[in-house]
């Protein structure tokens, strides 16, 4: 039985970016700019999500000759479900904190 684990804030922000357009392939640098995550944090997170089957990737040949191909990522159906769960949990926790702070 898989143990459901609370995703880190960095993972949640990455999942939020990927769910914006779940069927679109996204580049690493583009995700870094959108989430604010540095490459040293972004790529290990992408690898972990890929290892868990939540992310799929493919290579895109470069349009400019002589340039290396780029790696692109998008959520799998299981990843999309996981992302929605984590985002819902995060939203619920923020609401609870706001209620406690105001009380």
């Amino acid at each position: 039985m898989d143990r459901s684990r609370k995703a880190s804030p960095q993972t949640v922000s990455l999942l939020a970016a990927l769910t914006q357009s779940p069927r679109s392939w996204r580049h690493g640098y583009e995700l870094s700019l959108e989430t604010g995550l540095k490459s040293g944090t972004l790529y290990p997170t992408l690898i972990r999500l890929g290892d868990r089957g939540l992310l799929e990737s493919r290579w895109e040949p470069s349009v400019e000759p002589g340039r290396p191909p780029r790696h692109m990522y998008r959520l799998t159906p299981a990843g999309l479900l996981f992302a929605k769960q984590q985002l819902a949990d995060t939203t619920a926790r923020h609401r609870l904190r706001a209620v406690r702070a105001s009380a």
Partner: protein, 188 residues
């Protein structure tokens, strides 16, 4: 990762991207290389645990004998030698406690009990080391002064080795498939 460099806005951003990728790559490489754990065969763990805890156990027995010879009861209100022997007896309890816990795991195949015992043994070993250092700083005595060979031997046998044994103790359970307890149960 490399391909993204060509799409970075500025040289500074590209440099930061490259450094981050290097860190990520090294981290993944290190993670993939870590395959071992602290579990070892019980036949090897037993001499290891004896080495770690037996010297301090012998020290505990010595302290108990010394207390008996002095004719005093253990306590912190007696004469100097009784006080010293009592303190040594208390501090050296880490030895027999660790040895018994290790033998329970290795020979009987039982888990470490109570669960806080390894942490307590580790703390006791560290306290032993601090006590030795304090004795050496105050004025030498049985363990020699700082820099003396006896001091370092004392530190190793009475503090460092028990600390290592305490740190390794939780990893000994469950025992490996070639443990002594499994061999003895298969022979019955």
């Amino acid at each position: 990762m490399l391909a993204e460099l060509h799409h970075c806005d500025a040289d500074g951003a590209a440099l930061r991207w490259a450094v981050g990728c290097l860190i990520a790559a090294l981290g993944e490489r290190m993670t993939s290389m870590i395959r071992g754990d602290l579990k070892i065969s019980s036949w090897i763990a037993l001499p290891e645990m004896l080495l770690c805890f037996a010297p301090l156990t012998i020290g505990w027995i010595d302290a108990a004998r010394a207390l008996g010879n002095l004719g005093g009861r253990p306590g912190f209100g007696g004469s100097g030698p009784v006080l010293f022997a009592t303190a040594a007896l208390v501090l050296a309890t880490t030895g027999p406690a660790g040895l018994l816990a290790a033998l329970r795991v290795l020979l009987l195949g039982r888990p470490v009990h109570p669960r806080w015992l390894p942490a307590t043994l580790l703390a006791g070993s560290i306290i032993n080391g601090l006590a030795l250092v304090a004795i050496a700083l105050i004025g030498g005595g049985a363990f020699g002064s700082r820099g003396d060979f006896n001091f370092w031997c004392g530190l190793a046998l009475l503090s460092a080795l028990p600390a290592l044994g305490a740190a390794h103790l939780p990893a000994l359970y469950p025992p490996s498939s070639l443990s002594m307890s499994s061999v003895s149960s298969s022979n019955t």
